[in-house]
Every structure is written in C-alpha cells, then in structure tokens.
Subunit: 665 residues, 2 copies
C-alpha cells in the first residue's frame, strides 16, 4: 500500500446514486435534477465542508456545489442536467478549521466564557493563513480582520460580532484550506436523454392492417390516413412491427400453424426475402420514399414513428447466403434454426454471436439501425435483446448514442428480472415490464415499489403495456370492457411511459386462441386485419381523455413521488403522484374487480401534502369531471366498473372560505 | 473503451459478501465458512458453469470450488478458512456448451423426439474438442465416446445413456471450454482471526482496587490472587484500565472534581508522569516483571490479560517535553488541552495528528502497542479511537497484524453509528455498541436485526457491555438486582462477545453521582475501592452459570442464526440461536420488566427446526434445570424477576416415545 497522506481525515462513503460501484451510469432527462447523498465524516468533533462536483464529459473543470448536512453524517447536494450529454459527478470534503473555530467560538459565547483572548488569536492566525490563498482584492480587508482580532483594545463583543459575521463567513469559505481534502475515488456518470425517454405514450399498429377498404394489404399511405385517429387519442409514439420483406421458407400460417397457405402473409418478424433484409421495405407497404414521407407527416401530428429492431433472419434472408459465417452450422450442412427444446422455430435463424467473425456481424447490425436513423427514425423497439450478448448491446448503444444522443431504445425482454435490469443498465432507454401480469393490489404495490423505491428508479425506465400482439392476459380475456378501462388507467397513471397494441385494445379484443393461451384467436401476427375503428363502443374517447389528463398533469410525467395509500377494500387500489413543489397532486383510485361495484375508505396522506387534519380540500375527478369536497385522512369512494372503474383526481389543497371575501374581518 | 472480447457472454454481479465495492475485507475466525453468493447469467438459454475461487494472500494459485445454482440467477459457493491469514476470493463463470447440449438432449428424450442423429454428431464434436484439452490418460476413452456417438449402427438409446452418464459428465466438466470465461473484476478479501475474536467473555477490573486488605493500593500480586475468582465466574479476558504512571497536573479528585486532594490517586486515563508514559508501569502496581508473571499466571486459568490503549497524555507525560511538536500549541505558548466547548479536560492533552511530524508520531504510537505485545499481551481495548484519524488506525492495525495476526483490538467508540462502523471496517476486531441503552423489546429487536441481518454481520463484531466504569444506565439504576440479571442474560446470549465491569456488576452497584447522570457515585475512576466480593447476595454464581451455559452451547459462540420470536406480551423478549446442523438449539426468554411477574405465549419456529406441528419436544432451562414438555408453535411462559428474570432453554427435538421400546411393533 502506498503511504497515505496521514492528515487527510475525511471519509466519504455510501454515495447515492451509484450503480454497481459506478460501473453503470444513472439516467436522467434534460432539465431533471441529480440529487446526490453521501455519508461524510471525520474523526473527532471538527466541522466539515463538502462539495458536490459535476462536469460534462469532456470538460476538464468541475462545477462545485456546496453540500448540506442532513442528519446522521449524511450530506446532500444536487445539480440539474441541461444538455443531452454524459455528466460526471463526485464529491470532495475536508475538515474546515475555520468553521470549527467559529462553531466553538459561538458555543463559548453561549456558555458565557469570560476570557477568549487566546481564541481570537487563533482565529486571527486562520484568517492570516487564508489571506495567503486569497485574491489580491481581498488582502486588505482580511488583514484588517486579523488586526481587529489581535487588538488588545477592542471589546470582546466587537470581535465576536466580526468573527460570526456573514461577510467573514463568505470570504473564509471561499479560501478554505483544502490542503488535506479527500475526493471520492470514483467519478460517477449520468446519461442524459431527451424528455420523451421518460414520458411517452405508445401506440402499436400493424401497417398492413390499415387499408382503408377491407381485403387489401395496407400501405404507408393508409398509415398516413390513420395518423389523425392516433393523434386524437393522444399518442406520441407510433410503433410498427417489422416492415421488411417476409420470408417464404417455413412461413407460418393463420394462428401460427406450421404450413402457411398460399395467401398467408406470414409474420413480419420472419425478416428477409429475395427483395432484401433489414434495410429493405416490404414492397406491399410502399417505398422508402413513402416511408420517409410518413415519418415527416407523423411529426406534424406530434407523433414519432418507432421501428422494430429484430436481429434474426428468415431462411430466405440475403445474409444467409452472403454471410454464412454469421450462423451456426450443424453437422450435415444446415443452419441451426431457433429452438428452445422441444419447441422449434424453423422460420427463424438466429445469428451466431460466437462466430469468429463477430466483429463484422456487430458492424453490420449497427449499420442496420444507422440506416433507419438516416431515414429520420429515432425511436426503436428492440425485439428479444436478451437472446443477444450483453457486451454487444453495450457497444451498440454507446456507439449509436455517441452519434445520435436523441435515440430511444425500448427493450422487449420478457425474461428473468436480473437479465431485464442488466439490459437497462447497459443503456436501453426504456423496458417492457411484468405489468401485464400484475393484477391484484398486492402485486401492483409490490412491483411498483420495487421499480420506484429502489436503485431501479435510477436506470430502469418502465414502459407499461396492458396488451401486446403476444400478450392477451387472462384479466383482459375475462373482464370485458371494464377490464380494458381499468388496465389502461393503471398503465397510464402508474408509469410515465405506457403503450397499447391497437386497434385490438380500444376495440377490446379479448378472445384467446384457446383456453389457457395468451395468444389472440386469429392473431394479427399471422394475418391481415381490417379493424372497424369507428365502432360506437370503441374506447378511443376514453383513451383520449386519459392521455389528455396525463399530458396536462406534470405529476404523471415521471415516476418520482409515486406513493400507495391504504384502502379498507382489497379490490380498491389508491395511489398518488405529485410534482416536487406540490403544485400538481394527482390521486388515482381503481376498482380492480371488473365485475362488481366496490366501495370503501381510502387513506389520504395529509401531512406530506401540507394539509391540516381538519382542513377541507377539493378533489376533481378528471375522468367524470365530478368534484368532491373531502376533509381529513379517510374518505369514501365507490366505483361502478360498468360506468367507469377509476377516479383520476386532481387534488386542490386550497378551497375558498369566508376569509376570501373582501369584507371578512 | 478497449474493445471487449465480444464472445464473453457471462455477467457476474451482486457478489455477496462485498463491503464497499471490496474496499474492506470481511471477517471470519479460523474454521468458519465463507458463503459467497452472486447473480450469474448470460443471454439466451444456455447452461452456465461457475466456480468460486479462493486463495491465501501471497499464494499464486486459486483453489476452485463449483458454485451451485439456487434460484432467480443467484448462485452460491463456499469455502472454509483454516489459517490466521488473509484470504482472497472471486468468481469465474462461462457458458458451458456441453452442459447446454446435454440439457437439450435430455429435453428431447423426454419430449420423445424421434431423430436425434444431428444432435449426437454435435455432441461428438464437443467431446472431440474437449479431448484436445484433456490429459493424455483420458484421450482413448474420450475418442471411444466420440466414435460411439458418431456410429451409424448403435441404437439411439445407447448413445443417450452414454451422453447422460456420470462418467462423461465428470470428464467433460473437467475439460470444459473456458475460452470465453468471465472473471469478476474484483478480488475480495477475508481477514481471519483466532476464535476469541468472535467468542469472548470479558471482565473489567481496576488492579488498584484489588488489594486483599482494605486501605491499601492494589498490586499485580493482588490481581494474581483474584484470578481464581474471575476464572470461576467463567471469564476468559481480564481487562485492566491503564496501568501507567498517573499525571499530577490538574489531577481530578473524587467524583471527578477539578481539584484533587493530596491523597487522591487520579484517573488511570491521565497517562504519564515523571516515572514514565505509555511504556511504563505505575510503581504502586508493581514492576514489569510482576506484570509478566501475572500475564502468565492468568494463562494457567484460561484467562488473557487485556490492556487499555489510550493515545493521549497527561500534562506531565515525558512526550510533552521530548516531542512538543506532537501537540497543538496555542498562541501564548501553552499546549491545547482536550475540550468540547464549553466542556474542558485540562488533565488531558490530545496528540495533534495534523502535526507536520505525523509520521514520527504514528511510529511512536505503534511502538507502544508493540512494547506490550512483547510482554505477552495480545488483547487491547482501545480508548476513544474515533478521536484519532481513520487512516492512522488502518495503517496501525494492518501493520501490527502483519507481525502479530493473533492480536485482538476492541474499539471503545461510543459515537455516531457510521463512525463506529467505519472503525470496524478499518480493522478493529470487536466494538462496543449501543446495547447498554437498548432496553425495550422493540429497541433490542431493531438493533440486533441491524447488527446480524445486514452487512454489519460481516465486519462489525459487537461486544455487549451492560455496564462500564463510565456507564451506569437508568435501567440498572432503577431495577435492582433483577435488572442486573436480565441485562447479563441479554448481553451474554444475544452477543457472542460480552463483558461486565466488576465487581461493581456482580455486587449490583447502582447509585449514580446525581439524578440524570450515568456516572457512579464515588466512581472507581477517581478513587481506590475495596470490594467485598464474598457478599452473600453477589451475582457471581449466577454469572458463573450463565458463562458455563455459553461455553457449553456452541450456538452462543457466534451471532449467526439469531432469530427473534413473537410473544403476546411486550415485556417478554424471546429469541433463539442454533448451530448450522441444528445439533444445538437454544431459546432465550427474558422478562424485561424488573419489577413485576410477566407471563405470556411465545411463538416457536417449528419448521426451521425440523419439528412437526403436533410433535412434542423438550425444553430444558439451563438456568433453573427445570424441564418442560412443549408442543406446537405456541407455548406458555411465566417469569418472576425476583426469582430469575430469564429462561435459557436448550431445545431437544427428539423425545422418547413408545416406539423406543424394543418390543414396539
């Protein structure tokens, strides 16, 4: 061990946030705050000073922010990230001899100590030493202070007044003796994204099912015509399953049967055919120009088109011929198709990431996403990232974001939790979650507590989907329209990002392929649909309302400050979110039982909202527009799922009283 | 970023135990196990292999132990430390292609897949590759296996049988392809101590109060005569306050008053006078030879003498003249005495660790402990370590333990929790705690849960003291003899190390200097006492019994497996400890109210002890020798504090039944 500087007495530990000893960055969006806490202490009773240091990656100079002592040796500081770059932060702290001296002097004064002459001489010495480090402009005044403290004539109370003055404090802080300062050994990183990384509202749709007339293959032009519909519902991301040519060999038929009929279109995830692979467009959808026009048109509606990144091939993909070395070959000379024994996926060839030519493979895959970025796409949903190596993703995402920091990648990893969390650590912007399978109050509370009350909040950004083309849950299958409404409200208000697969969702499609399956009967994955989006019972207006509420209430724009509140009925879940300044407080109550009316008492957290125990306050149901005057911590709710299974209240802390009249008092 | 090996697919994270990213070692005693857990996973569905690696510091070769998969990507392995040295450990893991192949083959067989000819060829290829890495002696048999799997004639079931055989498994594990293995980037450390570091029973005594006749200053010879008394009570560490010459300047008188009378002996912590400093002995106690004889005599009783290391000086200490540069000088030419304004300690000069000569100071302080180590002392209680720099202690302890790994240091830091824990991280073997002030069931449960269910278990070894010369708690002041008995049982059974300050404890001295003070009236710190250790109401026999129970029941020798159990009476605390193999289970119930009889129902954890819900079991009260037949999880207890406020049960899981007779059945 190198001999340490024995006089550096401060310990800095327990720094938060810090992910895996600083191995991974935390995530923020532009304008967000980074609050850093740490345990900072030294031996003995001296007073410390601590600074939070931060800088943009590449900058050489740290910006210093004073940290504040909280309690139990814990200190806190914060800074705001203002650019879409990486930031670094760390902490420096030292024993502050002048602050210690000043604190002791104040104690002596308070205890009425009579002779403090030696103390004033010690203080004079400290100021004199600081003067050596000070700017020339301060030299004179500091020298005057030294003389004052050394003076044999001046009254003790004048010296005390000077020593404890704000002026002296300010200058002595500036020239504090940092000779033995200790700096935390790690520089921790913040990865900053644009706002939509945190707050986004997704709509998934199959372009081929968008034809304006039945019986035709949809086109990008049809998608353009669908944009007003999507925009009116309030979505800002429109995500398409793969738009590439679909393979013929081993193509799957209706309901996923092995042998496709001659007219079956196949699943869009069987990527690659004679017409091309990952950089080509299925000619039935249109041309690259059509696609670019759609992307631009969508922008006019405030919508970004998101594409699917699915890194595997159909047997007809050009790569299988051009780059046979990227696949795993079996004895006998065939390419190994995807399988999870005994299940076989003969229409999908995975890449062999253990290929000796992995570098070329990585490079080609990167060129795929760069191709679509160049067409104007910035948001991608990544298919099954958990079946490709973690190191690949880390390299891939870092490399892309260096050139295009505004890219957003949604990880579609429905797998074991630690694998999902690892992908988020490595750089995926958002992640699918287990939300679809969390139905009871206990399940939802447990899961959301894990996501928002642990380190996960720092790097795992959940995107809640009540349904997807692969997931029709039992809750939706059995609960009818109220189940769809309840799950929509839960997704939209629990998570700042959520999405639905439509029009199946708003038309509450809920028939499974067979009992016990989560596949849709006659799934859109294997056939072209024509949806009657103007059906009178569509949930589109309800969805539009929920999305407008989300947009208008900033408390819903992040998952900070999510808090669950007790109810006396297990079927009622109650939670709130609020902005840091409490200017926007929202309270949600959902009846989780789609079949029956449920009522009960909910417990409201008065104190954190600054409400007195007897003070009335108004809750305004933004769904029904009803207003209720509540008071105290327990209030009654009743929800009929056949009308609406949820309240989304905005809480107004201040209501008018007689004191608001001019002539009161 | 250096380009990674893209084919290394495994992630190893969440390694436990790991203190502050490996900055500090965990602690064990010789013979203890180190159980290591980690999250280990890769992309996809392949099977992994993981090894726990450990070695003694200085050894170049790792010892490999296979890790076992538990659940949720968590793996576990363990090793035993067998020498008093430092050990290092880390983890290596890889995607095991042969294991993956074998698992898939088994699944295919189970699913009744008909043609597996390609699979056998893949397996043959893997064995053939492993054969390149194998020892010559295995080449032939492995080649035979390859031929078997390649054979066109052999039946499929013969090939399956071979592939899944233990023999193939064993050899293929040995030559597994570790080409893309990932090793955890940190090597973590275990600091190993001798057994007494974990399990020790301390008795603190002022040698000067040990004179066989009243009115005389005690000597080391008197201490020798007191050894049988201490040994009979079952203590194995006998700790003395400082034994050095005591300063005269500003000496404190009776009850700590500022002006000492001519006959006042002063506090032993005012170290240093004309006769010498930290390496000298107060001549009134005897000579260095007398001391060494006492140390050896104590060993015959199984007792180690522990000394006090108090790094500060009386104004008369020779250092103040020989090394004025080690002290803080005030303007006016006086040394700064200890103070915590407005409190002043004029009889104590602290060292100035910010002295430019800190290196020499450090060296001299090390020579102090080395001096006493050379006299045969290996256990030290370190006074106020939190007022000396952390870096000093880290250097000091590492340096001493390199030469004397059997040294044990008890940290006397009664201060804020993070400071106490930091000292333990830096290397203190044991630590004083807040136990003295934890009286209620809730307080004790919270505190012990913090100490034994968090990372603290890995590095903070508590030593519980119901009293010290500085601490006479309100509970002891007000509770009479039953309070002393209850606190003794709690200290002795909750913590594997504990100690008392006697004879004040066994004679239940409980009169404070004044109301609200924790100081003893006429404290032994400032005067010589003569204790009547043979008083008939002494607790010495009770203490002897408790200490024998501790010695005879290995469950008490560590704080592993401490578990609290519910009772329906807040005044009754119930907890158990057990050895890993359940051969020793102890259950303690204490009535925390020293004034009244309390009774109630205690909840017993049947399942972890392997007991059926209706199975009777015997509990044997090792204090009263009473035996009770209990069954089920709820049982009744009643404790009269005036008889004995506690049960210490040994639990016998097996009782005799009619089936134990020869002629049964």
């Amino acid at each position: 061990m190198e001999e340490p500087e024995g006089r550096a007495r401060v310990i800095i530990e327990g720094v938060k946030p810090e992910i895996d000893s600083g191995r991974f960055p935390i995530k923020r969006v532009i304008g967000e705050k980074v609050v850093v806490e740490a345990d900072i202490f030294a031996d003995g009773h001296d007073t410390l000073s601590a600074l939070l240091l931060h800088r943009k990656e590449g900058d050489s100079k740290w910006v210093e922010t004073p940290m504040e002592f909280l309690v139990n040796d814990c200190w806190r500081g914060s800074f705001v990230v203002t650019e879409i770059v990486h930031y670094l932060y760390t902490i420096t702290a030292w024993v502050d001899r002048f602050k210690s001296w000043r604190k002791n002097l104040a104690k002596r004064v308070e205890a009425g100590q009579e002779d403090m002459s030696v103390d004033f001489l010690v203080g004079a010495q400290l100021i004199s030493e600081a003067n050596q480090r000070a700017a020339k402009s301060e030299n004179q005044i500091m020298q005057d202070w030294v003389k004052t403290l050394q003076s044999a004539e001046l009254a003790q109370q004048d010296k005390v007044q000077l020593a404890l003055s704000e002026e002296v404090t300010l200058i002595m802080d500036r020239y504090s003796d940092r000779q033995f300062a200790v700096t935390y050994p790690r520089e921790l990183m913040v990865s900053v994204d644009r706002d939509r990384a945190r707050f986004s509202t997704w709509y998934e749709m199959f372009p081929r099912s968008c034809a304006r007339e039945p019986g035709r293959h949809g086109t990008f032009e049809d998608c353009e015509a669908r944009l007003p519909y999507v925009a009116q519902m309030g979505f800002d991301v429109l995500y398409f399953p793969p738009i590439h040519p679909i393979g013929h060999t081993n193509r799957k038929g209706k309901n996923g049967v092995v042998a496709a009929g001659p007219d079956d279109p196949g699943t869009p995830w069987a990527i690659g055919a004679e017409e091309g692979g990952h950089k080509a467009i299925d000619p039935q959808l249109g041309t690259l120009d059509d696609f670019r026009r759609l992307v631009n048109k969508a922008k006019e509606y405030g919508i970004e088109i998101a594409l699917d990144i699915a890194f595997h091939c159909s047997p007809d993909h050009p790569y299988t011929k051009e780059h046979p070395e990227w696949f795993l070959w079996q004895p006998g000379g065939t390419i190994q198709y995807a399988e999870n024994p005994p299940k076989k996926y003969q229409d999908i060839y995975p890449f062999n990431f253990e290929s000796a030519n992995w570098r070329e493979l990585w490079g080609e895959l990167k060129s795929v996403i760069l191709f679509w970025i160049e067409q104007g796409v910035r948001i991608f949903r990544v298919d099954n990232p958990h079946t490709k190596p973690f190191r690949f993703w880390e390299w891939f995402i870092n490399d892309i974001k260096k050139a295009y920091p505004d890219v957003i990648l949604l990880s579609e990893a429905f797998t074991r939790p630690k694998v999902m969390y690892q992908l988020a650590k490595l750089g995926f912007t958002q992640s699918y979650t287990y939300f679809a399978w969390r139905n009871t109050r206990w399940e939802l509370t447990q899961y959301l507590t894990e996501l928002t009350q642990t380190d996960l909040l720092e790097y795992f950004r959940p995107n809640f989907w009540p349904n997807t083309p692969d997931i029709l849950t039992e809750y939706l299958q059995s609960g009818g329209q109220p189940a769809f409404m309840a799950r929509l409200v839960l997704a939209a208000t629990l998570s700042s990002s959520y999405g639905i697969y439509g029009p199946a969702f708003e038309l509450f499609q809920n028939v499974p392929r067979e009992h016990g399956s989560e596949e849709y009967l006659n799934s859109e994955k294997y056939e072209i649909k024509h949806w009657d989006i103007n059906r009178s019972d569509s949930l589109k207006d309800f969805i539009a309302r929920v999305n407008r509420i989300r947009r208008e209430n900033p408390a819903f724009h992040s998952n900070l400050n999510l808090c669950f509140h007790a109810t006396d009925n297990e079927e009622l879940i109650c939670y709130s979110k609020h902005t840091e300044d409490l200017s926007n407080i929202v309270l949600v109550v959902v009846n989780l039982n789609p079949n029956y009316i449920h009522s009960g008492w909910v417990n409201i957290p008065l104190e954190p909202w600054g409400l007195g125990t007897q003070q009335p306050y108004q809750v305004h149901d933004l769904l029904s527009d009803a207003r209720y005057l509540w008071h105290g911590s327990r209030n009654y709710v009743e929800l009929n799922p056949n009308i609406c299974p949820a309240h989304i209240f905005r809480v107004y802390r201040r209501i008018r009283t007689e004191r608001d009249f001019d002539y009161y008092m």
